[in-house]
Point group: C2
Chain length 194, copies 2
């Protein structure tokens, strides 16, 4: 009992310092992109010793990857009873994330780094595909309910939804206004029903 009680605050301290390090890494990523992230600078800003940082993340890449996953878009899976409603919730949610300050300003530096680093490219692709899980679940549920045919291929459907939104946010930088977003939703619904 005694040792357990003594362990708790220590665990809590470890948890907090890990959290601080990830927060500082994310901030640095957002401010400067990947090139500005060094373990030295993270240590300096967070007040966490380099040895502690290296204990949790053996390399700078491990730290960056962890911070990337935390930064990125974990969306929860809605279950509103219809494909239209579920996909609308997911879309409005990702649009809100695309219009937020942090994640969309950091992602390009990860994409850039991935172009020059095959390992990071694979991890980045994995994170991105992982983030489509709520979409795949919503599609699978719609197939189960018989709302969309089982012949619909989930992965291209996700590209049909996210592609135009990402294109406007990062490439053409045109506004993600309601008219555009609703148009994308209607496209996905009409394509899914074929």
């Amino acid at each position: 009992m005694e040792s357990q009680e003594r362990l708790k605050p220590q665990d809590e301290r470890v948890r907090r310092s890990k959290e601080t390090v990830l927060k500082v890494t994310s901030e640095l990523l957002a401010e400067t992109g990947l090139s500005g992230v060094s373990v030295d600078e993270v240590s300096r800003r967070s007040g966490v010793a380099k040895t502690t940082i290296y204990r949790h993340w053996p390399t700078r890449s491990d730290l960056v990857i962890d911070a990337c996953s935390q930064l990125s878009t974990s969306q929860s899976t809605p279950d509103r009873g219809s494909f239209r409603e579920d996909i609308t919730v997911l879309t409005k949610d990702i649009v809100k994330l695309l219009q937020s300050a942090r994640w969309p300003s950091v992602l390009p530096s990860i994409i850039d780094a991935a172009e020059h680093d095959p390992d990071l490219a694979q991890i980045h692709s994995g994170i991105q595909v992982g983030h489509t899980k709520p979409y795949l679940e919503v599609i699978a549920r719609a197939v189960e309910r018989g709302e969309i045919p089982s012949t619909v291929e989930p992965s291209p459907l996700v590209a049909t939804l996210l592609g135009p939104l990402f294109y406007r946010r990062w490439f053409s930088r045109e506004p993600l206004d309601d008219q555009f977003v609703n148009g994308v939703i209607e496209q996905v619904l009409s394509i899914a029903k074929k």
Copy 2:
């Protein structure tokens, strides 16, 4: 006459040294991203004096922007007589560019820089929108021919086409195989006809 003849090789020399500088800048962009491009390094690699570089491009930004526009995807506008054929030619062409070594590996560093530099963001958006010109021309011609209704909004239609392709290339990094690409073309055709 005499002065004109003497001027020609000089013009040719200027043209060549500008070309070399832009080529070296593009190479640096592709290798290291934006952060690796300095006028010093461009001068060193190209053998063109810094004063000459600054004569043509007053700032590093001017040079980078010029190199970016040259790097990027200038597509010619097909005119095959039908919307289906024109859009197919444009799509196959951009997919080929997306699978090439240079442009797709450089663009993310421009996008990244644009997130942190409002001026570059505006220029980048302008370049991207400029590159949709062949698409807009093909759409306008299809409307003229009565193939697609005049109520179709061109810019979202371009996002429907380019978005899923760009999403796969830079975000999920899934293959741009024929099945996927043809699916995107069919989606655009079916949406345009509404």
